[in-house]
Symmetry: C2
Subunit: 338 residues, 2 copies
């Protein structure tokens, strides 16, 4: 039975299992360092659909379909699907999951959605509310760009601190029993707003929330960063990652070489220069989790990972009205497969 | 300890307590049949803020502030806030709850958000993940109208099946111990899409999901509608409520006089003719719950209520792209206060 430890962390005593997972990506993601580890790369930005929104939705459905297939399961075996995305009214997730006939818990955590959905799925399994459930999310460069920034046809210039919304999806199936990496602890984060207003520098807006959640987790568990093989934020990019290091250093916490960021792992910034500060979007951390982190745990390359997806909780309306950009970061402690 | 019963329902053995609640509304809601039971009515559609979006956010923050005050609690006493709203990227909920410093679980369930948040809060208390947590949501006629339909200045004509987005918020505080109505069972719903495409007839789009969730709950628990004093959907309005009755009748389920709908309870359709088929918006079911249903349980006027908020999971983009409108309905069985 789970128990709270410290003020903010829940230890999952049964350690729910991540039974299977899948990552689906687009052309640019396929050309990146993790491209070969994706379950499916589709170079058609429309994914065979008529619109980019339908494409994103189809990708998210496909990620869950592939994850279920790997575990020998069907949609009807799931008790809950936890999912969301970046689009207005969570369009991609809703349409991706409307035909399963499975209870749907819609989430909104911006780019933190993969850790939010993974955390809730694990907590539902731990509590006995579900034997099997799924966590999924997605993003698409073209749907995000035209919703949040400019029409694609405009060809707007990007700043060096800007991040590139990944065209990708990730889905994971969690269960009470079986083989696979396990969820050991969860720290759901509070919203942190340090007053950043530059929508082209979301890494800086989200770094304080990542620092806040990590500090709380370490304090609650009485551990240090040295106790984990990898501490993976997503998606702070280059600018936000540097800021995270500075913020933690003030509290005497050193990340050293343990830290990486999904936005930096997904692309090769030297070759794929258009990504500027790195990747972003719900699908970035979701696909890095499902193409790289979970397999690394499964293959025993690493033992303990803190997966910390971060979200910038702004909208075009809030930016137009002069509001700052609140961030949130949810942490999931994943431990090696058995 | 909770246990699943049937395929879709979770029985909460500890029966988490709804310790306190508050409803905040605008001018029209104040003039409606429940106006006198709201904790606060503010006739200023800007709620003292510069924009309607900031107003909606301030209302949601105020609803939680009032609910906490009634229970003699502070924000920092909460372990989690479950919240969402209708706006793009859940703007109102995010900004309402950014200053509490409390872990934030962002949800998107459209107008089903109050039952989604209430269900998750109860499940977290039941599992021991939280001693105290909050569920909250809101909507605002002016923010919804200009986001989903037309600029307010346009003065667009409304169809008889159209519903009126409530300017209202509701918040509830749940705990493991104390006095108040209790959460006895939860059935989270699957997405149901029967192909309705008329965004001016959301009641019809959502009625099939309400029928689906209610049927599953009755089947899982081996009960009939006669076992409940009130079965309250939200927000199907007049058109959707009639359709729900027809759909259930096909399966031999009679709602009789037990059924009511938050969209019909909030306004007097005879006098407040502009609401057409009834109220809608996350704040409609949230404020009806917190101004009428929870007090009725507390005062022992009724013993068992099935609270079933329904959501239409569309966006302007999905409608423009010719998509149908998927619906979802989450059910919470509330039982009389002690």
């Amino acid at each position: 039975m789970a128990r709270r430890t410290g003020k903010h962390t829940i230890l999952l005593d049964t350690m729910p299992v991540v039974l299977s997972w899948a990552a689906v990506g687009g052309k640019l993601e396929g050309e990146g360092p993790l491209g070969g580890q994706f379950d499916e790369i589709n170079e058609d930005s429309y994914y065979g659909e008529k619109t980019w929104e339908k494409a994103e939705s189809a990708m998210q459905k496909q990620a869950l379909t592939l994850a279920l297939k790997k575990a020998g399961l069907k949609g009807e075996d799931l008790q809950f699907i936890f999912a969301g995305d970046l689009l207005n009214q969570s369009l991609s997730a809703t349409f991706a999951h409307r035909d399963w006939g499975v209870p749907f818990v819609g989430l909104y955590g911006a780019c933190s959605t993969m850790s939010e959905s993974l955390a809730l799925a694990a907590l539902f399994v731990e509590a006995g509310y579900a034997r099997l459930c799924a966590a999924a999310t997605s993003s698409h460069f073209c749907t995000a760009e035209r919703q949040f920034r400019f029409p694609l046809e405009y060809g707007g210039q990007r700043t060096p601190s800007a991040q590139w919304t990944a065209t990708a999806s990730g889905a994971a199936v969690l269960g009470a029993q079986g083989r696979g990496p396990r969820v050991k602890a969860v720290t759901l984060g509070a919203i942190v707003d340090m007053g950043t207003t530059d929508a082209n520098n979301m890494g800086a807006a989200m770094a304080p929330s990542a620092a806040d959640t990590l500090k709380k987790f370490l304090e609650d568990t009485g551990t240090t960063t040295a106790d984990y093989d990898m501490i993976v934020t997503g998606d702070l990019g280059q600018v936000g990652s540097a800021l995270l290091g500075e913020l933690l250093a003030k509290d005497g916490i050193s990340l050293e070489s343990r830290h990486n960021d999904c936005g930096l792992l997904l692309y090769d910034r030297e070759k794929q220069t258009q990504v500027e500060s790195g990747g972003s979007g719900c699908g970035c951390s979701a696909s890095v989790l499902c193409s790289y982190l979970l397999p690394a745990l499964q293959n025993k390359e690493v033992k303990d990972i803190l997966f910390m997806a971060t979200g910038a909780l702004m909208s075009t309306t809030s930016s137009q009205q002069g509001e700052s950009i609140p961030g949130v970061c949810h942490l999931v402690h994943l431990t090696g497969g058995a």
